[in-house]
């Protein structure tokens, strides 16, 4: 049902000179959900955001945000979106309060509302004490919060966050995550780009993995992890000598033949439920002693490596040269 999607894109393409930034991507985010675009620098995430926020016209394909076409209905569309970018686009020669009031005036909020809305957001984003200070005296985390507050001034139903935590210290990152989660709880649809796997894992309902201008995988965090091979049992044996008995005992419940090295046995399991109990019972019956046993899930790092053939960090280094 296309009508239920707050963000939908079909076959978006965009080239800059000789670089194909977007090579036909499809995206969809139901209203009230968080869609994460995960990929290294230069993968095309920012280009996708620019097209969806009407900053760039696509070369091909089509996209609708809040039901409005990004090309033919761009002027109307801008009243329905908020954008916070990796550059913390606030004016550092104005105070925090003046920045938010200015944005409210430019959204053409009714008289008096830019002021009341600014006060409300400064309070909510823990910036009230710094409201009348020039932004150039703000810390990086405060600037990002102000930038996010500016994107929320007009209570837009769809919010675009382009790498909202890039360059922030861990404490500020977690603060910002909590703030974003708060907005989502109020029903805002969010499109979030990130190169951090833990960020996508934590915030996004669905994740589209982007590499070299294409969506190479799409699904929930769990689905993507399953795609890499699901859950894995790690068993440390009491004695290295019992490896063969252990393999024989466990093969019936393994999705793939168990691998063993230096007393540590690893195997993907067919089903998470009861896997540990089942393994322990079978090993007991075979008389194999267990030192430690744990069930682990692949991380999004594993997913990225598996899908692209290169780790997220490697690609990041490559991508920087393209910018």
């Amino acid at each position: 049902m296309a009508g239920d999607l707050a963000i939908e894109a079909e076959g978006l393409r965009k080239a800059y000179k000789d670089v194909q930034a977007l090579d036909g991507i499809d995206l969809g985010a139901p209203a009230g959900s968080v869609l994460g675009l995960l990929g290294p620098n230069g993968a095309g995430k920012t280009t996708a955001v620019r097209i969806l926020t009407t900053l760039l016209p696509p070369d091909g394909g089509s996209a609708r945000v809040a039901g409005l076409d990004v090309v033919t209905e761009a002027a109307d569309l801008r009243s329905h979106i908020g954008l916070a970018g990796q550059y913390a686009a606030v004016d550092e020669h104005m105070t925090g309060k003046e920045n938010l009031e200015m944005v409210g005036q430019l959204y053409h909020l009714p008289k008096g509302e830019p002021q009341s809305r600014a006060a409300e957001l400064l309070d909510r984003f823990d910036l009230a004490a710094a409201a009348d200070r020039l932004v150039k005296t703000y810390s990086g985390g405060m600037r990002r919060r102000l930038d996010l507050a500016a994107a929320l001034v007009a209570r837009p139903p769809v919010l675009f966050l382009d790498e909202p935590t890039t360059g922030l210290d861990p404490r500020s990152r977690i603060d910002l995550w909590e703030t974003i989660e708060g907005r989502v709880a109020e029903g805002t649809t969010v499109l979030l780009t990130t190169q951090y796997l833990d960020e996508a894992d934590r915030l996004a309902d669905r994740i589209a993995v982007i590499d070299r201008g294409q969506v190479i995988a799409e699904g929930t965090s769990d689905e993507l992890k399953d795609q890499v091979g699901g859950e894995r049992l790690d068993i440390t044996l009491e004695s290295k000598d019992e490896a063969e008995q252990a393999i024989a005992a466990l093969t019936p419940i393994a999705a793939e033949p168990p691998a063993i090295s230096d007393g540590l046995l690893r195997m993907p399991v067919r089903e998470r439920k009861g896997a540990i109990a089942d393994a322990v019972r079978r090993l007991n019956e075979a008389g194999v002693g267990i030192d430690d046993i744990s069930l682990s899930r692949p991380t999004l790092d594993d997913v990225f490596l598996n899908l692209t053939g290169h780790a997220a960090e490697d690609a990041e280094a490559e991508g920087k040269e393209e910018r």
């Binding site: 002027a75 801008r78 970018g85 959204y107």
Partner: protein, 256 residues
């Protein structure tokens, strides 16, 4: 986008540009101390060596230096736009449901305010150095309007430069490289007929010469010929061409 909304967006952004100057008063030096310095240098250092038949040098100079200073008044627009591009503010503005030209009309409007300040400062210093008006009040007022109009036209040249440069520093030096020769190869500081023939030919068709001659006519009571209308026409032409180019460029501008 209604006209009223565009106008209110322009005022919001003009206010922002003026606030910037109030907040960072060092920028104000460019509008006050720098023109004073130029007036004093030309009157007392070069003035004695330059022959201006029929005029005291200070009377000859003030209209010329006013036109030159006003044409540079828009540099704050180039600087500000280049900075907005670099910092990502243009992305934010372009994602808002606001007028597509307000960022530019706001800044160029703010330049009119700072240019007015420059005119006041220079006239005061000029009068102290010996300049005197010799024309009816209506002519003087028309001259002031012409100065502001000419300056406004060049604000649009600077807007285009700001949107086309890779950094605020580059915008500033590009502006000076283009405008300095234009303003010097004119009747602003020396009589045109003292130049070599090639420069003289250029100076005579240079809009700076036309504007300077128009202001001299309006302030000193000499026959204006077609210069006043010519100067207004040039201003209008420059403003129309460069506002069109600038708005077109702004609509495609993205963070660098």
């Amino acid at each position: 986008m209604s006209f009223g909304a565009s106008f209110s967006d322009t005022l919001v952004l003009a206010r922002r540009a003026v606030m910037r100057i109030v907040r960072a008063p060092d920028l104000l030096l460019a509008y006050t101390v720098q023109p004073i310095m130029f007036v004093l240098l030309f009157v007392y250092v070069f003035g004695g060596a330059i022959r201006t038949p029929g005029f005291e040098y200070v009377d000859f100079l003030i209209p010329g230096i006013l036109v030159q200073t006003l044409s540079f008044g828009g540099f704050a627009t180039a600087l500000g736009l280049a900075e907005d591009l670099k910092k990502g503010l243009v992305d934010r503005f372009r994602s808002l449901p606001m007028s597509r030209s307000a960022v530019l009309t706001g800044r160029t409007l703010a330049d009119v305010a700072t240019n007015s300040l420059s005119i006041a400062v220079m006239l005061i210093v000029g009068v102290i150095a010996g300049f005197s008006f010799d024309a009816p009040l209506t002519h003087i007022l028309l001259g002031l309007v012409l100065l502001l109009t000419f300056g406004y036209a060049f604000s649009w040249v600077f807007a285009f430069i700001g949107l086309s440069s890779s950094s605020p520093e580059a915008a500033q030096s590009l502006g000076f490289i283009i405008l300095f020769p234009l303003s010097f190869i004119s009747s602003a500081f020396v009589p045109v007929d003292s130049m070599p023939a090639v420069l003289q030919a250029f100076a005579e068709i240079n809009p700076f010469t036309i504007a300077v001659d128009a202001i001299r006519a309006l302030f000193l009571g000499i026959p204006a010929g077609n210069n006043v209308w010519g100067a207004f026409a040039w201003s209008l032409g420059i403003a129309v061409v460069f506002s069109y180019l600038s708005v077109r460029r702004y609509k495609r501008a993205v963070v660098r």
